[in-house]
């Protein structure tokens, strides 16, 4: 149910639905990504952008207009405004600067404000079109692989890994068709400043077992990313952004277990009870008498057990 508290109410249900879609929710929509071009991007870079866009065809917008005044590393406000307009929280921007011919900026936003961004220089680009192999259908969830120790060690690379994961993972899927694996993307951190990207198509071959043998076929896009400037999120901003609502967190079930036979057992915890103080039928012979030796006094009441845990069988 939409929780819109607006002074001006939406006039019809269509506008109401549009507003509800953009609201913050417990379980969020898949992030929308903006692909747009800055000033004077070369033909190659524009093709590179289109290739990345096709990898994330659904949940992304390719803006056709050029934005010559944009410079995300310098002034992020226009990008934030664009993001707010299209309700997009990821962006990929391509331009040509004096220092770098093939400049690309990948960034992410939280609540329509910049969270983090990384500027890379693209070289050795091989487009999807260059490879003549048949490609998989657009919009399939790719298998991602990151190779190299730098992904864990370096702060910028860690952010880049998170960004690339966000960018390419697609929809958060609960189930996946076993015959449907078609795309694999590989990111290799050669050193702390260089990342190689490769794209493969997956072929499932017979292996005699249930699990197939995987064969990969290079289909592109292939490129080398050289890390340049970066704006990483501060620790507390990242913490705030990663906070999950309570409803999404899994509830642990306590005190219920299964025994070997498959019957469900429960555990009940009791406070310790002084069973000596129980009200029972009073028998004179069983009364506790002092200074009496022998077994008579010893054989006292045989009333109930102690205050211990009992494992009771549940239905």
């Amino acid at each position: 149910m939409g929780v819109i508290q607006r002074v001006v109410k939406p006039r019809n249900s269509r506008s109401k639905r549009a507003l509800e879609k953009r609201e913050p929710k417990n379980i969020e929509n898949t992030k929308q990504c903006l692909f747009f071009v800055g000033k004077k991007a070369s033909e190659e870079m524009r093709r590179c952008l289109r290739d990345l866009y096709s990898l994330r065809k659904h949940h992304s917008l390719h803006l056709s207009r050029k934005h010559p005044d944009m410079a995300p590393c310098v002034d992020i406000l226009p990008v934030e405004r664009l993001g707010q307009k299209h309700d997009a929280s990821l962006f990929c921007y391509v331009a040509r600067t004096k220092k770098h011919q093939n400049n690309m900026v990948i960034g992410r936003m939280f609540n329509h404000h910049l969270l983090d961004l990384i500027e890379v220089d693209v070289s050795d680009f091989r487009s999807l079109a260059k490879f003549n192999n048949p490609k998989g259908a657009e919009g399939t969830k790719p298998c991602l692989t990151f190779a190299g120790p730098g992904w864990e060690d370096d702060a910028a690379l860690r952010t880049l890994k998170s960004l690339l994961l966000d960018l390419f993972r697609g929809v958060e899927a609960t189930a996946v068709r076993l015959q449907g694996f078609e795309l694999a993307l590989q990111f290799v951190a050669v050193d702390s400043k260089t990342v190689l990207m490769r794209g493969y198509s997956i072929h499932l071959k017979k292996s005699g077992l249930r699990t197939p043998r995987i064969e990969l076929d290079l289909i592109g896009p292939c490129m080398t990313l050289h890390l340049q400037r970066s704006r990483l999120a501060s620790d507390d901003l990242m913490k705030r952004a990663c906070r999950q609502p309570k409803q999404v967190k899994a509830n642990r079930v306590k005190n219920i277990s299964k025994d070997v036979f498959g019957s469900r057992l429960g555990r009940i915890h009791m406070t310790s009870q002084d069973l000596g103080g129980l009200q029972t039928r009073k028998l004179k012979g069983l009364k506790k008498v002092e200074d009496r030796d022998g077994a008579d006094g010893g054989s006292g009441g045989g009333g109930g057990g102690g205050g211990e845990e009992e494992q009771m069988e549940l239905e």
């Binding site: 969020e28 936003m109 939280f110 692989t145 958060e172 590989q186 043998r213 995987i214």
Partner: protein, 383 residues
């Protein structure tokens, strides 16, 4: 011979078959990190430097690396619980383990409204109402809200009874419409009040709420009225250097036409005159006064002295008999004069008794101070 050939052949086929079925084993697959929810596999082992530096061998090296990683990942995926839907086998993926930042902050639950709090306290539950209600008058199911509700209501209430204590000429339909409008407005007000309460904006319980975003005009109006609400009606209120007065406020003045017949103006002036408390006209006194003034002026002119106006030295008593005579005979006067329509020169005939001819000279007004109260000529202290 045939046997060995056939057995050899069988062997060949078998070896071929086994070669085709290649292994799915991946060495060191427990060294990789898996996030099955995201279909992500990370290999943190150091890369072979010699191969990565070599541009010829790097592609095949990466290819093998990728193949092994993906094989390891999909081995794990195939081990997941799966279900069969319409001839396709689907593996149920677990939740992703990599923590990615959210797009928007966690939503805060809406605080309950005043009514909701009260209902919760009293234990009032909201019962869902059906859209259609059986109407006995119309003998059909009528919508309670939404499409065609008003049409049905109109059909039902085509006539309205005038209650016994009401004015017979009052429009009951209009009254009902008015009530409905008021209800809608009250509802809207309460909704906005709830929102304001949630956003911690203070709203007064009585009276008109001020508009937080008043326009420039409204603010100027408010300023104007505030200024004029003083004891001096805004006359002595200080102003800011660039403060502009709003058009259309202040005392309204109807500006009369300057063209057209002057009848209105004339009428107004006469009315004013009639209202005034006029003393009775002392014609003789006026004549004598006039004559005296003229005589004095003539005297002085003849004698070569200064010509004063009405006020002259000695009160104008310095006159000879001949002066009087000459005047009475109407030989005219020789001073400057402003007559009605008459120019300079010797008028013939009797002096026009009724007309007031003023002899020239500096006009003295009031108590003899120079004209223009408060105006200072020359250098003065400016404001």
């Amino acid at each position: 011979m045939a046997d060995t050939d056939s057995s050899q052949r069988v062997q060949e086929i078998l070896t071929q078959a086994t070669e085709e079925l290649k292994s799915i084993k991946v060495p060191n697959d427990d060294q990789l990190e898996y996030d099955l929810g995201n279909l992500l596999v990370s290999n943190n082992n150091t890369l072979d430097e010699t191969l990565t530096r070599d541009p010829e061998k790097i592609d095949s090296y990466l290819h093998n690396l990728a193949r092994d990683s993906i094989q390891a990942l999909l081995n794990r995926v195939w081990e997941l619980p799966s279900e069969r839907i319409d001839s396709d086998i689907y593996a149920t993926l677990p939740k992703p383990t990599t923590r990615l930042p959210r797009e928007k902050p966690v939503p805060k639950p809406r605080p309950p409204t005043k009514w909701e709090k009260y209902a919760r306290e009293k234990g009032i539950n909201n019962r869902k109402k059906d859209k259609k209600v059986w109407d006995d008058v119309l003998k059909r199911w009528v919508p309670r809200f939404g499409y065609r509700k008003i049409a049905a209501e109109k059909e039902k209430n085509w006539v309205k009874e005038v209650p016994s204590n009401a004015d017979p000429f009052e429009d009951q339909f209009a009254k009902a419409a008015e009530m409905k409008k008021e209800n809608v407005a009250k509802n809207e007000f309460q909704r906005l009040r709830n929102i304001a309460k949630n956003k911690k904006i203070k709203v007064p319980s009585v009276g008109v709420t001020g508009n937080e975003y008043a326009s420039k005009n409204e603010l100027s109006m408010a300023m104007h009225h505030a200024k004029h609400a003083t004891a001096s009606r805004g006359k002595f209120q200080p102003e800011l250097p660039n403060e502009k007065k709003v058009k259309g406020l202040g005392k309204k003045r109807k500006i009369e036409f300057t063209t057209g017949s002057g009848q209105v103006e004339k009428k107004r002036n006469i009315e004013v005159l009639e209202k005034m408390d006029k003393p009775s006209l002392n014609l003789d006194g006026a004549i004598h006064k006039e004559i005296r003034d003229e005589n004095v002026a003539m005297d002085l002119k003849r004698k070569g002295g200064k010509v004063y106006g009405r006020r002259s030295k000695m009160g104008g008593r310095h006159r000879t008999k001949s002066d009087h005579k000459s005047l009475k005979l109407g030989t005219g006067f020789q001073g400057k004069g402003k007559g009605k329509g008459k120019g300079k020169g010797k008028p013939k005939g009797k002096p026009n008794v009724g007309a007031k001819k003023k002899i020239g000279g500096p006009k003295m007004q009031g108590k003899g101070r120079p004209a223009g109260k408060g105006k200072m000529k020359g250098k003065g202290k400016g404001k």
